[in-house]
Every structure is written in C-alpha cells, then in structure tokens.
C-alpha cells in the first residue's frame, strides 16, 4: 500500500534545500511525495522539474495551495492556474471562500491545515466537497510543536474536526506538512498517531494516507482529460478500451 506524504513544502529557488529534504525522505523510507513550492508553481523552470524527477526512488506529484483573501482573489487565482496540472488546494478562514472553493470543480482540495482554519470546518463544507468529489485535508505537522499548550489545543481542534468528518463520511486526506526536517515522519508513523491520539480507526487512517490520496491524484488526471465530463461519465473514442 503506497503511503503518501501529501504536503512537503520546498523552496523552488534553493535546490540544495530540495535535495536535503528528499534525502531526509529517502532515509525515512518515504517513497510517495506531493511537493508544494512555497513561492508558487508559475515561475518554476523546467530544468528544476527535470532535476527533481532524476530522484528515481520517489514517485513525486505536485500541488499548489492558494490562500485567497476574498472571493475575487480566489476567482483570479483559479483563472491564472486553469492549465496547471497540479493538485489545486485552497486554504482560507473565510467561510464564503471555503464554500465557493468546495463548489468549484477546479479545486481538488480544501485544506484545514492551520490551527485557525481547522476551527472553521462545518458540515456544509463537508457536504459540498462530497457532492463535488473533492477532498478535505488535515495536517499532523501542527502536533510536532514544542509547546505543550499549543499541542493540546491543536489536538482538541483536530480531534473535533476529524470526528465530524468521519461522522459525515467526508472524503479526507491527512498530510504531514512540517516546516522543520526533524519533524518529518514516515506516513506509517503518522497513521499510528492518528489512530491512537485522534481515535481514527486504523483502516480509515490508512485510507487517508493512501487510497484517498490516490483518488485525489486520479481526480486531477480526470480534470485534465478533455473527454471526461463528471464522475462516471467519459467520452470514449473509437478503439478506446475504457
């Protein structure tokens, strides 16, 4: 079962940093990665992509996370990134932005990775993401803080949000999303944390790190396919098998 680290932030201007992070992942045995360029994906040089893809031991995918200030900002950013083949994620504390993002089929992922954003999760957003076959993201990186006060506060918020998501059968994924190398962990270790501290059944936790991430990647591929209309509806040309 491939376990994903679904959010590894890297700096596109610093290849040494990327190399170091990938080496760390190699030592930890992480093979499936979703990279997020901190300074956006638009100005990424093809040479950099080639260099990254030369790390043959990894299966690497890319994502872009928008943090729009308001609805117009979200619309503008989505327009700019219409042809990007990355996973498109939106992270905002603004309820209107969240609702619009959950309705928009171009958005693959609504991220609830920040402490302030987790608290804004509502059943309405979960319902909209289910209708749109998009996903919700939670991150365990926040738990790796040194401050026990913050850790317990985050644990409470994450617990509430995850229990609500499970109750409503939401499509959710869990990522690491750490800033410091030394907070990076193998997804299997994070599954244990999700199971023991957040009371997620082991199989559901494994799904959030594996099957659901694969489904998310599949969704992105479908979005890029011009013959694809909606879930279960695809135009088949003459001679196509599927």
């Amino acid at each position: 079962m491939p376990y994903f680290e679904s959010r590894l932030k890297v700096n596109s201007n610093d290849f040494e940093d990327i190399e170091q992070k990938l080496d760390f992942c190699k030592n930890l045995g992480i093979k499936y990665l979703i990279l997020e360029f901190e300074n956006g994906v638009k100005n990424i040089k093809p040479e950099l992509m080639d260099k990254i893809s030369s790390f043959s031991e990894f299966k690497i995918y890319y994502r872009t996370t928008f943090k729009p200030k308001n609805l117009d900002d979200l619309r503008n950013k989505l327009k700019q990134y219409i042809n990007v083949s990355n996973i498109i994620a939106v992270e905002s504390t603004d309820k209107e932005v969240q609702i619009q993002a959950a309705r928009d089929s171009r958005v693959d992922l609504i991220s609830f990775s920040d402490e302030n954003v987790i608290k804004t999760l509502t059943p309405g957003i979960i319902s909209l993401t289910k209708q749109n076959n998009s996903f919700i993201e939670f991150s365990l990186g926040l738990l790796m803080t040194k401050s026990k006060v913050i850790q317990s506060r985050v644990l409470r918020s994450l617990y509430r949000a995850l229990q609500l998501s499970m109750q409503l059968n939401a499509n959710f994924i869990i990522s690491g999303n750490v800033d410091n190398f030394y907070n990076l962990r193998h997804p299997r270790a994070l599954i244990s944390v999700s199971h023991t501290l957040l009371s997620i059944p082991l199989l559901t936790a494994k799904k959030a790190f594996s099957d659901n991430v694969l489904a998310l990647i599949n969704r992105v591929k479908m979005r890029q396919d011009k013959n694809y209309y909606e879930l279960g509806v695809k135009l088949i040309g003459r001679g196509d098998i599927q």
């Binding site: 930890l28 045995g29 738990l143 790796m144 040194k146 030394y182 907070n183 990076l184 962990r185 193998h186 299997r188 270790a189 994070l190 244990s192 944390v193 199971h195 023991t196 501290l197 082991l202």
Partner: protein, 63 residues
C-alpha cells in the same frame, strides 16, 4: 528495549501487538533528547524476535 546500536542508528523494541500503535505513536512524537533533535522512525514490524534479527542482518549487510 531489546537492542540498541547508536553507530548504525537502530534499535529493537519488544511490545505486545495490542500496544504496537501506542508505542509507535509515542516514538513518533519524540523530537528532542537532551537538547539534541532526533527522529525515531519505525522501520519494520515482525511477529518474532528471530525474524527481526534476520531483517536487521539483511539491512546491515545492505549498508
């Protein structure tokens, strides 16, 4: 703790199958020992000590 080797960076922990996830998550949440940043990452789980020793030998030979 059955075995620990700081040179090759590994250790073997013995626990019941019911407490495996608890042990793994507690190791995961350790990120500092005496001011030094550390990562304790699970590599392999097996049912018998003999098996894990075989895995250990294989890994050391690979290095």
């Amino acid at each position: 703790m059955l075995d620990v080797n700081f040179e090759d960076n590994f250790g073997i922990i013995h626990c019941s199958h019911q407490t495996k996830e608890i042990v793994m998550s507690s190791l995961t949440l350790i990120n500092e020992i005496s001011g030094n940043q550390v990562i304790l990452s699970p590599i392999k789980t097996t049912g018998t000590i003999r098996n894990i020793k075989n895995v250990k030998d294989l890994m050391l030979n690979k290095k």
